[in-house]
């Protein structure tokens, strides 16, 4: 179990690990909790980082040796772009998925960075399947 603000994690060498973070200081947690549970049910070990700035997200991805980064974008897409840049400076190949209130034009911008974007209404099965595929699992 992990809570919205503090990451708690139990380690297992067999399961891929996903770090999920909110880039904005917006505490709506329904979305990240639902996606977090869906990824856990799909075999991921999930670190729910909560609201975190780019530096904290980079630190968590490195510390947890994450296989996947999930970003909830509740604010401007520029913050997500800066975060992805910073993470890829350390982990150039890490797959990134994103969700939240992401306008169509912002969705296209993130997709140009190779991010898989799941706006509201996306299927949880699709999210989980994509996440597994991105981590090289069937």
């Amino acid at each position: 179990m992990s809570d919205l603000q503090d990451a708690v994690v139990t380690t297992s060498p067999l399961r891929p690990r996903a770090v999920i973070a909110k880039t904005s200081l917006d505490g709506h947690w329904r979305g990240v909790a639902v996606v977090g549970r869906a990824l856990r049910d799909a075999g991921f070990e999930v670190v729910l980082l909560g609201m975190a700035g780019p530096d904290a997200i980079v630190a968590s991805v490195i510390d947890e040796d994450a296989d996947l980064l999930g970003l909830n974008v509740g604010g401007r897409v520029e913050v997500a772009e800066r975060t992805i840049d910073a993470v890829r400076n350390h982990r150039p190949d890490i797959p990134v998925i994103a969700g939240g209130t992401i306008a169509p034009w912002a969705k296209r911008r993130l997709e140009e960075l190779g991010v898989s974007v799941f706006p509201p209404g996306s299927s949880l099965d699709d999210i989980a399947t994509t996440a597994r595929h991105l981590c090289g699992l069937s």
């Binding site: 917006d26 909790a33 977090g36 509740g74 604010g75 913050v79």
Partner: protein, 539 residues
């Protein structure tokens, strides 16, 4: 179309309802008149013939100047009250714009509300806005920020030459928003929040005859996942917590307080009939709670007034123009339930904060309901006496009281929040909801049925206020350079002393705002006195 077996909160649905479905003991309430006890059928006898519901939309982004422009636009469009939504990053966290957590995501600043860092900023934000004759919500949604938000508005009004007794409006300081639906990264603990709210209630009761000090917003519980039964029950449990706190202090008359906090907020959603019944049940439950538990007899206290916001979560990202229809239906639910005030979510809700056009459409939708929907404004409680609606209202009430008992058994509303009990209830419902959408059991047009990959009406969403952080930095530097530093420091010391004692903190907060203290400085004092609370959200 597959018929549903139950309402969203689990009340069985049958194909036909008759007199046998309305409990005998419900007869008296069902036969009551609107405006009469127990107010099941409406708060006022003539309802919308005497006074249409208030058109009250959430708004705010960017700089204080941008907020003033949007407020003037909305009032010109026919809005009859105004809400000053403030920026989540700075305001809700009580951070100045140069706080490291704010700098880390500077682009987000001003996206979720206007950046108002001091009483001076509020003066700019209400420039040209007729606050002396409009009903105001100065953006005091989050508990730790509410005293700052209200005091900054009241000081700005005073600087315009208005007396506190002339001001009409509402605080909010809502526990559902703050501790359940949208917890901030740092937040004072719920017990401290209860003390601040107690102080606001006392102050407004004594000094501000036209001000609702705090407003319980079931919306924020409902849009986090609580169903209609849980929303009603939790709202009543929250009221018990406030009234018990005031009663414990023994400083002011409970019935005057009950009247002050008897303006609440509920959510309407696509749970059409259940939510109509919910508004009706809420009024009766409020009446019964106050008379039975507290022995209150003053009718003005027993008459619950309701503000409705339509479910943001019902608005879809896919085929967003469809949301105008959803907004219309959910607004109609509010009117049929007898609301006093209404905000309809923007059709671009799932995409961004509302654009000018989405805001205008929300207002036009309300105007069409008020001006064109024949019979709606003329007849109070038009569904009263329907076997189905009376049966549903009665069932909801019974189940909601059971939920109140469950919360009390957990130690009361604040304890139930503190240990994450309410969050778990909301999360369990959310999981079920998502599973039903995934399986197709719950259909949402454009999302899991009638989808259209070539939908031609793309909505871009709103992207304004891009330089709100830079502008905020400039105003903050100017404030620090121009104000009387000693007076500011003294006011903050006095505020801390009051917070550590038992006296009412509102006068000290007003002094701090009048000395042009900034939001971050007030926040530092609150954090030092009360520390931080961690949201008990788990997966």
């Amino acid at each position: 179309v597959k018929p549903r077996e139950t309402t969203r909160s689990g009340i069985p649905l049958r194909s036909i309802y008759g007199p046998e479905d309305v409990p005998a003991e419900w007869g008296e309430a069902a036969a009551s008149r609107p405006g009469s006890r127990p107010f099941l059928r409406g708060a006022y006898p003539e309802m919308y013939r005497a006074k249409p519901w208030r058109i009250f939309q959430l708004s705010g982004y960017g700089s204080p100047e941008e907020m003033a422009a949007r407020l003037r636009f909305l009032l010109e469009q026919g809005e009859t009250g105004f809400i000053m939504k403030r920026d989540r990053v700075t305001n809700d966290h009580l951070y100045d714009v140069d706080h490291p957590e704010v700098v880390a995501r500077a682009e987000d600043v001003g996206q979720t509300g206007a950046v108002l860092l001091s009483a001076r900023d509020v003066q700019i934000a209400i420039d040209g806005v007729p606050i002396e004759r409009s009903y105001a919500h100065p953006g005091a949604g989050v508990v730790q920020a509410a005293p700052f938000c209200l005091a900054s508005f009241w000081i700005a009004a005073k600087r315009r030459g208005l007396d506190f007794t002339q001001l009409a409006g509402t605080g909010q300081s809502d526990f559902f928003l703050t501790y359940v639906g949208c917890p901030t990264k740092e937040q004072i603990p719920p017990q401290a929040g209860l003390r601040l709210n107690g102080d606001l209630i006392e102050f407004c009761t004594e000094r501000m005859p036209h001000w609702v000090p705090v407003s319980i917003a079931g919306y924020n519980g409902a849009d986090s996942g609580l169903n209609a039964v849980e929303e009603l029950g939790a709202l009543m449990a929250n009221a018990i917590e406030y009234l018990d706190e005031v009663q414990r202090r023994k400083r002011i008359d409970l019935s005057v307080v009950a009247r002050g906090i008897g303006g609440i907020n509920l959510r309407t959603s696509m749970a059409f009939f259940e939510d109509i019944a919910k508004l009706r049940a809420a009024r009766k439950m409020w009446h019964d709670l106050l008379t039975r538990r507290y022995g209150i007899t003053d009718e003005r206290a027993l008459r619950l007034r309701i503000h409705v916001v339509t479910a943001g979560s019902a608005m879809t990202y896919q085929q967003p123009i469809n949301n105008i229809v959803r907004g219309t239906l959910m607004g109609l639910v509010a009117a049929l339930g007898g609301t006093q005030s209404l905000g309809i979510s923007g059709y671009d809700e799932a995409i961004s904060i509302p654009s000018d056009h989405a805001h205008q459409m929300s207002i036009r939708t309300q105007q069409i309901l008020q001006h064109e929907c024949e019979g709606l404004m003329e007849v109070a409680d038009p569904l009263g006496g329907s076997y189905f609606v009376e049966s549903l209202t009665s069932s909801l009430e019974d189940r909601a009281w059971e939920f109140v008992d469950e919360i009390q058994a957990e130690g009361g509303f604040v304890t139930a929040i503190d240990k994450g009990w309410l969050h778990q209830r909301a999360a369990a419902n959310t999981d079920r909801e998502f599973a039903e959408i995934e399986s197709g059991e719950r259909e949402i047009v454009g999302v899991n049925c009638f989808t259209d990959d070539s939908y031609p009406y793309e909505v871009d969403g709103f992207a304004g206020g891009g330089d709100a952080w830079e502008q905020g930095m400039a105003r903050l530097q100017k404030l620090r350079a121009e104000r009387h530093e000693r007076a500011c420091g003294d006011a903050l010391v006095a505020l801390e002393r009051t917070l550590r004692g038992d006296g009412n903190m509102v006068p000290s907060m007003l002094d701090a705002l009048d000395a042009d203290c900034s939001i971050g400085e007030v926040g530092t004092v609150l954090r030092e006195v009360y520390g931080d609370w961690r949201a008990p959200v788990t997966i």
